[in-house]
Symmetry: C2
Subunit: 314 residues, 2 copies
């Protein structure tokens, strides 16, 4: 099996209450690939500039990720994002966005990237997501992320792409914005009525929820004493989730609820490491045993046994 991700590869400048970095490797495609690479061979597709060094490329290639579709644009500069987090780490402010090589990006997938079994359309312009979908042969499982900007300015195109995917991964506020429905359940059911069979709501420090036509699963975030940098947590989560599914080929065309729940746990565990250091620092050197341990803790901290139901109507 193989996973293809199309998304941003970026340099980020970040300030958080824990410190700052003036330029670090980031981007949705990068964070997704670093997480998914634990489970399967990952092809990453996206443009970078001449300022993208060989050592940056090496980090991107961690655990065997294939970077031949990373296009180093002659004379170009890599996408740049600068942001600051306040004491409430759920709120961040974007100080600067330089699209650079992303401004004229038109994805061109190689034969190998097109032949993927699993496709992740990270948060980019919906029409580019559609173009990637057109190019791919017959992936068994397609998941998509997006953001408020595209819901604001390209909602129709976004909805037309959502109709073609199996799984939508969005922040819960974005799900409400996209559908105009006030509750998570109502919003997710609306998206499911468009075509996808799975909706995953990212809820930041509160964890995540998964909704299908007839089921609901919820998982808290892994509790941390200290959070250093939340940047990329959502993409790392998606990489763990989608990567885990790719490692279960028997489940890919119609994943059952139990498989999806374990996939959520792997996404959650890897994302918890991501936020403990800046950028890709922690996940790049993460070991599988460390992930497994946190999955086991997540299991323990969500387990309860109401085996003797105690109530009787007085």
């Amino acid at each position: 099996m193989s996973v293809t991700v199309v998304g941003s590869i970026a340099f980020d400048a970040v300030r958080t209450p824990a410190g700052e970095r003036e330029r670090m490797l980031g981007g949705a495609g990068t964070h997704f690939a670093l997480a998914a690479s634990f489970f399967d061979r990952v092809h990453v597709v996206g443009p970078v500039g001449e300022d993208f060094s060989d050592s940056d490329m090496e980090i991107l290639a961690t655990r065997g990720t294939i970077t031949t579709d990373v296009d180093r644009v002659a004379g170009g500069r890599t996408f740049f994002w600068k942001g600051v987090y306040g004491d409430d780490l759920n709120d961040r402010e974007t100080l600067e966005t330089q699209l650079n090589v992303f401004e004229h990006f038109r994805p061109q997938l190689s034969q190998e990237s097109r032949a993927c079994d699993v496709l992740f359309l990270a948060n980019i312009q919906p029409e580019l997501q559609a173009s990637v979908l057109d190019q791919c042969d017959t992936p068994s499982f397609v998941a998509l992320d997006s953001m408020n900007l595209w819901i604001d300015i390209a909602r129709e195109t976004l909805v037309s792409v959502i109709r073609r995917v199996d799984c939508v991964v969005l922040n819960d506020a974005e799900l409400r914005q996209l559908t105009g429905k006030p509750t998570l359940i109502a919003a997710a059911r609306e998206v499911i009525s468009w075509g996808p069979s799975i909706v995953v709501a990212k809820q930041g420090e509160y964890g995540s929820a998964l909704i299908t036509a007839d089921d609901f699963f919820s998982l808290p975030a892994y509790p941390l004493q200290t959070v250093t940098d939340p940047t990329g947590a959502g993409d790392t989560f998606a990489g763990g989730l989608v990567g885990y599914l790719a490692s279960r080929p028997d489940q890919l065309t119609d994943p059952d609820r139990d498989t999806l729940a374990v996939a959520m746990a792997y996404g959650t565990a890897i994302a918890s490491f991501n936020v403990e250091e800046f950028g890709t620092e922690r996940v790049a050197r993460l070991r599988a045993e460390e992930i497994d341990r946190r999955v086991a803790v997540l299991h323990r901290m969500t387990t309860f046994a109401p085996d003797v139901l105690t109530l009787e109507t007085p």
Copy 2:
């Protein structure tokens, strides 16, 4: 066993996207009692005005709650709160607060209320909470709620009361405000260092988390397609949680993690009914079997089985 709750008994005026009520029975003491009454005999303590009707008192007495310590103040008017909720039901705006009989309230507990096994200090002025604690004989379990107002203007008194209780139930933002710690875990550990052995963080639509010295348990809210009125959800949750513990006398002095987790589930289930209609309407006529069914669903929707851990370091 018996439970005593000291807190507000109020009339609420509420507008939500689902509709409005100009005057309905509410207040922390009311919502707590309606939930806790499923599990044990509840004594409710608080003042009301001459405008408090016999039919209001009957609702308060649902499932046998004892109202002899509800003081009907001659010439007084019942506490009144008016608020409005926007599309994001986590945000509400207070339009009006009339303290009325609460302005000069000095709790005087009867012999029966003093002799409780379990005491819940709902959100009132911290010095009144202290006075109630002084009056009670030797409750086995004491829990406390509070709010941002008291953290702002009476933090020192509040902390001195917190040192004397077993369990603190607060919104997660209030826990951070109270302690100045940025993460839930760091904030809860700080509170535990003051004396309480249990911290429960209410997280609104995201559910709740329970932290002890050596454990963490998290539970999502029960997912609802439609939320009509969130008013009183937190107090209903506390009533289910604390009420369940009161029904487990063997666990009261040092409740184990599994008992606390089931208590959280009962609080969560009852609170989910509370928000489906305005004020006390739904919980007043709720039946125990309905609660049990939602506890069972909560169990199913949080269960996952990572029995075969799949990762090996590549």
